[in-house]
Amino acid sequence: MTLQVARPAPGIAAAAAIFELRLYVAGQTAKSIAAIRNLERICKTHLAGQYRIEVIDLTKTPQLAAGDQIIAVPTLVRRLPEPIKKILGDLSNEERVLVGLDIQPART
């Protein structure tokens, strides 16, 4: 699998509760950029050291869209932990992203 941008989780990857996330975008649109930025911010805040993000640009690797059944962009796919979850949109609503990823907020 060709990864466009792979950002290993900062810090030590703990054995437990690693979040494997994939963000599908289509080109460097405002929505894509916003989504990438939002995702990074949320992960740093709530999942420090527990996540791995791949950003896949479908305009460059369109064949990857079928694998995760992507039709909308941006789509964030939580591949691990199971079950698979998908979050559509630019991830601007942090609260809903956390609900969608099933993450306990770090600070209430």
Partner: protein, 576 residues
Amino acid sequence: MLDERPPTPCKAPTGIQGLDEITGGGLPVGRPTLICGTAGCGKTMLAMEFLVRGATQFGEPGVFMMFEENATELSANVRSLGFDLEKLAAQKMILLDYVHIERSEIEETGEYNLEGLFIRLGHAIDSIGAKRVVLDTVEALFSGLPNHAILRAELRRLFRWLKDRGMTAVITGEKGNATLTRYGLEEYVADCVIVLDQRIAEQICTRRLRVVKYRGTAHGTNEYPFLIGERGFSVLPITSLQLDHRASVARVPTGIARLDEMLGGKGVFRGSSVLVSGSPGTGKSSISAKFIDAACRRGESALLFAYEESSAQIVRNMRSIGIDLEPWIEKGLLQIHASRPTLHGLEQHLVMMHDAVRAFGPSVVAVDPISNLTLDGHDSDVKPTLMRLIDFLKQQQITTLFTCLSSGGGATLEDSQLGVSSLMDTWLLLRNVEFNGERNRSIYVLKSRGMAHSNQVREFVLSDAGVDLVDVYVGADRVLTGTARVAREAHERTAAEVRRQGHQRRLLRLAGKRKAIEAQIAALQAEAESEAAEVRFAIAQQTLQEQTAQQDTQAMAQLRGAASGNGRIKEEQLPT
């Protein structure tokens, strides 16, 4: 619409029998076409056939993007129509892409669009150089994606995008309550809309197709019945055919010599249609069996559509009147297609007949009976569909015999033919004649176009020896059939015998008389002869006495020594 007559849009042939005829060549090239209808009416099949035929017949690769079933399921489903999707996929002629959205996995936050779908589709199109695209059923997205506002905007963009890419697209959609499709796709796809429909009438389902809209081109506007058969989709455009079939002058014997005699001495015209109608038990099936038998005897092939009896039953029953169909079946000259009329609607039956006729290519076809097919339908449905069948058969120059059961008896017979009689060239009417405590069959030619035909009523006789026609007894005051005819004939025979014997007696008497007279003549002659003999005897006796006397006289004269004439005179005077 415009006076300047814009060039008709190019059409992408579907390769589907009948549909290209209705649409005047196919679906609009480079534009999306919406196919909508209720569940199970054949949308997916139509779309798939469009793609498969495009790939196999017209060299246009196609992408099938499905939202409801996956590739394995779809391949299995269309294999029944003889489409091998796996092979086509391996040849890169067809690409199947299954888009699946699991609603429970999805959460929405913020803005998004369906660029992912576009990219997928674009990638699929590019990878095989597709010209045709099917989206089946894109409406599934509505249940997968919560934000319908975005979805609608994106679908509009999708169809626009397909147009821009020059894709001939088919989009399927489920029928909604008051709209053509549940989510109003017809708003976005406005170039061509085809509605499929299935209706149940008296427990029999008939599928129909209608081109609701076809921008910029004329199209058939009627509802056309269609069928998904063994060889895919077929649409029956009833009214698209014209009356332009050839008319053969060759004649085809009916197999019953006396019947041919009634039909101008030679039988019916090749490629004509014959209707044999009559009430139950008048011998319609026997005539059709004889007709088929005769064709097979001539070495021609025949096709029998039976809607009352099974194939084996027909063979057995016809053997009882001396017609053995089995050898013809074994030789491959005869095919019997037996099915229950209620199995399908009329249209489906007709499509099946078409397929069977096309596959077998017979020179004669018999349908026994056609009335069973029409049981379910209303007369208005029956006539055009039947017309289509008859026209089709005529164009193939196939001589056809239809039997038709008339429910009524007597004078209503002529009226109860569902108006199909006007489609027929020859109409034979079989009738039961009840008289003298028995029922007999009579036959006559009601009409026979283009030939001099007998106006006589004949008795129709079925026996071990087969089927035959017998002259009825036409007496001074009535027509007699059956035993009445036989009795009458026997009576006539007796009378003739009596007459003959009378003559003979008189002749005998005459001969006797002549003999008696001859005997009398003989007796008289004998009498005359005996009398003559007596006379002769007397004369002879006298002569003898005279001689004796003379001799005596001479002797006495010698003795007296003197011979005198006196003495002789004396002698003569002497009594003997």
